[in-house]
């Protein structure tokens, strides 16, 4: 069950990072959102074997992490979560697609291996782009931006409450699991036959909490108010940052240098 507390820690560590004060943190959230989306869509649009054309995109994570003073280790460890499924797909390519693409010093590299490397590189770049976005943008700025973009109020509100209560309910699940463990002879996981009442209790507690949260909201006049969000202008530095990310990315995508 240690993964429960690990998850709480993960959530908090990203929240802490997002409170930083670097130039990247100070950018408009829209700038960061658009950069991340641009990088992801462009990276994904490369072909199956375009490993070497993708390589220059590594500048994005490296430079951004350095500018935003993000710890390499923490973000790198996150990338591993996305690994299993990508690795499965990539390895199956390596097995099936054995035609030699080229050889380096007598060692022949197959198309499948090339595509495996490409998938892993794409995975790394996409995951990093998303992580850099949340590690440099506090959650409330992100949802404020969603409001500015006229995302449906209902959904933004659900998004916010979910985020807010994840750590609260994770802690509740964690202490329940600890209590279970202490009385079960140190089992690593629950027995499946106990899941009904265990998860059932957790869910009923969740429902009761939801009722209390709703009561707390009502006490403060809650109705679907349109929460006004302070306008935030895009500054010159945002335009420069966006251009600095997008122009080279576009150039690398549409012009073949090697």
């Amino acid at each position: 069950m240690s993964d429960i507390s690990a998850r709480v820690h993960e959530l908090r560590s990203l929240e802490n990072l997002s409170a930083g004060q670097t130039a990247v943190h100070r950018l408009h959230p829209l700038t960061k959102l658009l950069s991340a989306i641009a990088v992801i869509v462009l990276v994904v649009s490369f072909g199956r074997y375009d490993f070497s054309r993708l390589a220059p995109y590594m500048f994005y994570p490296f430079v951004m992490m350095a500018l935003a003073e993000l710890p390499y280790k923490l973000l790198l460890s996150r990338v591993l979560i996305a690994l299993p499924f990508c690795l499965f797909a990539g390895l199956s390519n390596a097995v099936l697609d054995r035609a030699a693409a080229f050889s380096i010093g007598g060692f022949s590299v197959s198309f499948g291996m090339l595509s495996l490397a490409t998938i892993l590189l794409k995975m790394y770049l996409c995951v990093m782009a998303a992580l850099i976005l949340v590690a440099t943008t506090p959650f409330f700025e992100l949802t404020a931006q969603l409001r500015r973009l006229h995302a449906p109020m209902v959904f933004v509100m659900i998004f916010e409450t979910t985020f807010r209560y994840i750590s609260v309910l994770l802690e509740e699940a964690h202490s329940m699991a600890t209590a279970y463990k202490l009385r079960s002879g140190n089992k690593k996981a629950l027995e499946m036959r106990h899941m009904g009442s265990f998860a059932g209790h957790l869910f009923i507690r969740g429902f009761d909490r939801a009722e209390r949260v709703h009561a707390a909201m009502r006490c403060r006049g809650y109705s679907l108010v349109h929460i006004p969000t302070a306008r935030r202008r895009l500054l010159r530095r945002d335009a420069i940052a966006l251009a600095a990310v997008c122009l080279p990315s576009l150039l690398l995508r549409f012009v073949t240098f090697w």
Binding site: V43, E69, T162, Y165, L169, L170, M195, G196, A199, I204
Partner: protein, 340 residues
């Protein structure tokens, strides 16, 4: 589903479809007089499922351990539309904060794990099975059937989305033969746990499940209409995107590749991948629904296929790393100076 296995056309199409499903659901909640009351409940319920997913349990007789996904469970507790919105929020948070999936793959993930269990399986299987009253046995049957159906359908969609993206060369049959049995087992386990949890909640607090099933529910809307409009949206988006893909950037490469004729690489690859590719490629030719790189690989133009390509890539890695290092160093020096 992960970003790295998607093509932009498939990824963006699924994003549009999922966004439309969210839009419709939000409209349903807005139009319902109790919808507003359910918003904090949907938020906390999302967090609840997230916490539930973290609880590992051992699967009897296997020694393996698993966790629940929770789509059908949440739909059973809240009703289809609210459950869908909760799950979507959870998936968005997982993609952003836990690197699960990815931003582009979010559309696929919301579709596979949200739309399918909550908006398709729940109204078509779960609710009809409970039409004649609640009860532990009926709840179990409904949970089991719905969970299996939801996971199998979801897995099938993952296979389709991956293959349509053309990143893997796994033949359709093999891929499906791998994914479907695994998800049958997962579905049975999920169904067993879902029915146990629902039975427990039903015993302790019957009103929760009763109000989800029979209360003033939100989201009673014609499934036919919704499915039809989602299908239309899929077609419009994918054709628009593939039109773009085939006339624009890749169009160039594709034309260049064609001019050079079929290369040996392409031939061997098609052989290796088996007949499905011929079929798919000809289907592609007929419909032009998919971007070219999905099926016709073009190794001559895939650039990196040479020593110089590899060297270039290595140099790019090194320069990128060095750039990061230099900036970090410069920053820490600046900080040290300002502290003095």
């Amino acid at each position: 589903m992960a970003d790295a296995l998607l093509s932009p056309a498939v990824g963006l199409t699924m994003c549009a479809v999922s966004a439309a499903a969210i839009g419709v659901s939000v409209a349903k909640v807005n139009n319902d007089e109790f919808g507003e009351k359910k918003i904090p409940i949907m938020g906390v319920a999302g967090a609840m499922v997230f916490a539930g997913q973290m609880i590992n349990f051992t699967i009897p007789a296997t020694g393996a351990s698993g966790h629940i996904v929770g789509g059908i469970l949440l739909a059973g507790l809240l009703g289809g539309v609210p459950a869908f919105l909760s799950i979507s929020a959870v998936l968005a948070i997982q993609c952003l904060f836990f690197a699960d999936g990815g931003l582009l793959a979010l559309g696929c993930n919301i579709f596979n794990m949200g739309v399918i269990p909550c908006l398709i399986v729940y109204p078509l299987i779960f609710r009809p099975l409970l039409k004649n009253g609640l009860g532990t046995k009926r709840l179990s049957a409904a949970s089991l059937a719905s969970s299996v159906a939801a996971l199998e359908l979801g897995a099938f969609c993952v296979v389709l989305q991956t293959l349509l993206s053309g990143i893997t060369v796994l033949p359709f049959g093999t891929f499906a033969a791998l994914m479907l049995p695994i998800h049958l087992v997962i579905g049975l386990v999920e169904g067993a746990v879902t029915s146990a949890v629902l039975a427990f909640v039903y015993k302790v607090r019957p009103e929760i499940i009763g109000s989800a099933q029979y209360g003033k529910r939100i989201g009673v809307f014609s499934m036919k209409k919704v499915l039809a409009s989602l299908a239309v949206l899929t077609i419009i988006c994918s054709s628009a995107l593939s039109l773009y893909a085939s006339t624009n950037p890749d169009g160039l490469e594709w034309a260049a590749g064609k001019a050079m004729g079929k290369s040996s690489g392409a031939e061997t690859e098609l052989e290796a991948a088996g007949g499905i590719y011929d079929g798919a490629a000809s289907l592609q030719g007929k419909t032009a629904l998919l971007p070219d790189y999905a099926f016709v690989s073009d190794p001559d133009n895939a650039a990196g296929t040479s020593l110089s390509g590899v060297l270039g890539a290595a140099a790019a890695f090194m320069f990128a790393g060095a750039a990061g290092l230099i900036i970090s160093k410069a920053k820490s020096r600046k900080r040290a100076n300002s502290n003095v």
